[in-house]
């Protein structure tokens, strides 16, 4: 069976300094956590694979194909953003933007796409806040809007960059529930995670990075004290 996401020989550098060195890895279906210390190249891996930043060498494949062929099956949820929260857009407007490849560019959003967007908002529990301007939402709600946007893309592979960073506990539970539901539907979720909590309880696989692959595989096998120490430089007390 083709892996939903694989990279081979990926090398990425920023201004001469290496960010990722010779990374080769194939994801398995299910929920995978991408872990590592600061500067390990976790976000870089996703961005380079998606062509958002240039890579020095290597390639990424999505369901066995190149990005341009598989693009409609891939959704990306970037880190809590640099968007302008004062932008004149409601939660529904933001989620509907995900449907752009499926609708015409002028005029109002077709009914079918609007319903898709609404359904996505519903699934993250924000149905009543659909018309609210995004700046008037709390941090957790904003994060859920962006998750809904990714869901509205109706993809088979989800690449997420620290979706649980700096959210409150209730939002965290909501998001994890949504992710599990995706996995139950047969989708693949690769998630850069900002710390080491929740791994054994929620994730199927891990990829531990420290500019190169330190460990990868099932949580029980790859998420060990030894591999964590190797990646995080043996800092005491980390578990």
């Amino acid at each position: 069976m083709t892996s939903p996401f694989s990279v081979e020989g990926l090398n990425v550098s920023y201004g001469g300094r290496p960010a990722l060195t010779d990374v080769s890895w194939a994801a398995s279906p299910g929920l995978t956590a991408i872990l590592g210390p600061n500067g390990a190249g976790k976000s870089t891996l996703l961005k380079a694979a998606l062509g958002l930043i240039p890579s020095d060498s290597g390639q990424a494949r999505f369901f066995g194909e190149g990005l341009d062929q598989a693009r409609s099956r891939v959704a990306y949820l970037p880190q809590r953003a640099s968007v302008d929260w004062d932008f004149p857009a409601s939660a529904l407007d933001v989620v509907a933007m995900a449907r752009l490849p499926h609708m015409r560019w002028w005029g109002s959003v077709p009914r079918a796409e609007r319903e898709t967007a609404r359904a996505a908002l519903n699934s993250v529990g924000l149905a009543e806040l659909a018309e609210r301007q995004i700046g008037r939402l709390s941090g957790g709600q904003q994060q859920r809007v962006f998750l809904a946007r990714a869901l509205a893309q109706k993809a088979d592979l989800f690449l997420m960059d620290e979706p649980l960073a700096a959210v409150d506990a209730v939002t965290e539970q909501t998001i994890l529930a949504v992710l599990h539901k995706l996995v139950d539907e047969g989708k693949t979720v690769l998630m850069v995670h900002h710390d080491l909590s929740l791994i054994t309880a929620h994730f199927d696989h891990v990829l531990i990075l420290a500019r190169q692959v330190v460990a990868a595989g099932l949580v029980a096998e790859a998420f060990t004290d030894a591999s964590i120490a190797a990646a995080f430089g043996g800092l005491p007390g980390r578990a």
Partner: protein, 316 residues
């Protein structure tokens, strides 16, 4: 004795039309600059096009819009590239690099203007600084029927032709590309992840803005183009949270300010018996600034009684 309507059509109508078109087009495109948090680029492009305009005039000695437009677009491209170089080579942040480049281009344009003075009799420093709305006349008008007379229409000032063309292109582009423009303004990284070539879209938008700046420049001058690009958009930003209102409202406000400015500068004082005539472009810019001030006040009044705070829904 010339009938008042004919007088109006000969002396005031061209300026009125030019101001409406310039204000509307710049007001429309200015919203995208403000939403992309790139108002500085509007300032920069308006100044940077000057050397291109002068070269276009001087090289061809023609009074037609084509060479001027091409020169301006070339200058705009060069300036955009130069800003990137300066940021990298001189390790300057965007604001300082942009300021350095656009003042350098503008100064070059001023020098070129003087150096080629003999050939660009049509284009002088006063036009750059103050605009020349008042010089737009349509002496071939003989009354309302002239509006339907192709021969008379052909004698309309050249500036109106270019303004109308750019206005049409801008309006069409915004209408056709409504959703992509919204997405690129809001979240260019997400747009890229959907497969959009964001760099090309941004380049296209910047060239369109440069074209609007060229078209408007000959009527209102370099600095007042900035007023039209920034003020209506800022005014709308202070008043609305809805995208459609922001973009279309900016266009409407720009056009209205243009019309008001021209009318209050000449025709209205004359009708009231004053012999004074004010700089029309300056009056448009002043009204634009006053509108922003008014919107600031209205916004403050709206917000103070009901303090709006992000509300948590029960099931956060």
């Amino acid at each position: 004795m010339v009938p008042p309507m004919t007088d109006f059509m000969r002396l005031d109508l061209p300026a009125l039309l030019a101001a409406i078109l310039a204000g509307g087009t710049c007001g429309l495109l200015g919203s995208f600059l403000v939403l992309r948090r790139e108002s500085l680029l509007g300032d920069a492009l308006s100044h940077a096009i000057l050397p291109g305009i002068v070269v276009g005039f001087a090289l061809t000695g023609l009074r037609s819009a084509g060479p001027m437009l091409l020169g301006a677009l070339g200058a705009a491209l060069l300036a955009t590239l130069a800003i990137g170089w300066v940021k990298r080579l001189a390790r300057l942040e965007t604001g300082a690099a942009t300021g350095l480049v656009f003042t350098g281009f503008f100064a070059t344009g001023l020098v070129l203007l003087e150096v080629t003075g003999a050939r660009s009799a049509d284009l002088d420093v006063d036009c750059v600084l103050f605009g020349q709305l008042e010089t737009l006349v349509w002496l071939e008008a003989t009354g309302l029927p002239s509006l339907f007379d192709p021969a008379a229409l052909a004698a309309l000032p050249r500036q109106l032709g270019l303004l109308a063309a750019v206005a049409a292109v801008a309006g069409l582009a915004v209408a056709v590309f409504w959703r992509p423009l919204q997405l690129i303004a809001f979240d260019p990284e997400f747009a890229a992840s959907l497969g959009m070539r964001v760099g090309r879209w941004e380049l296209g938008l910047n060239l369109l803005i440069a074209a609007a700046a060229v078209a408007a420049f000959e009527s209102v001058g370099s600095i007042l183009v900035v007023a039209m690009l920034v003020c209506p958009a800022v005014a709308l930003r202070l008043m609305t949270d809805r995208y459609r209102v922001q973009v279309l409202g900016g266009a409407v406000l720009g056009a209205v300010l243009g019309a008001l400015g021209v009318l209050l500068a000449g025709p209205v004082p004359a009708a009231l018996g004053f012999s004074l005539s004010l700089n029309a472009a300056g009056l448009i810019g002043t009204l634009a600034g006053l509108t922003v001030a008014l919107c600031l006040v209205v916004r403050a009044m709206r917000l103070s009684p009901a303090r709006l705070a992000p509300a948590e829904s029960p099931q956060t």
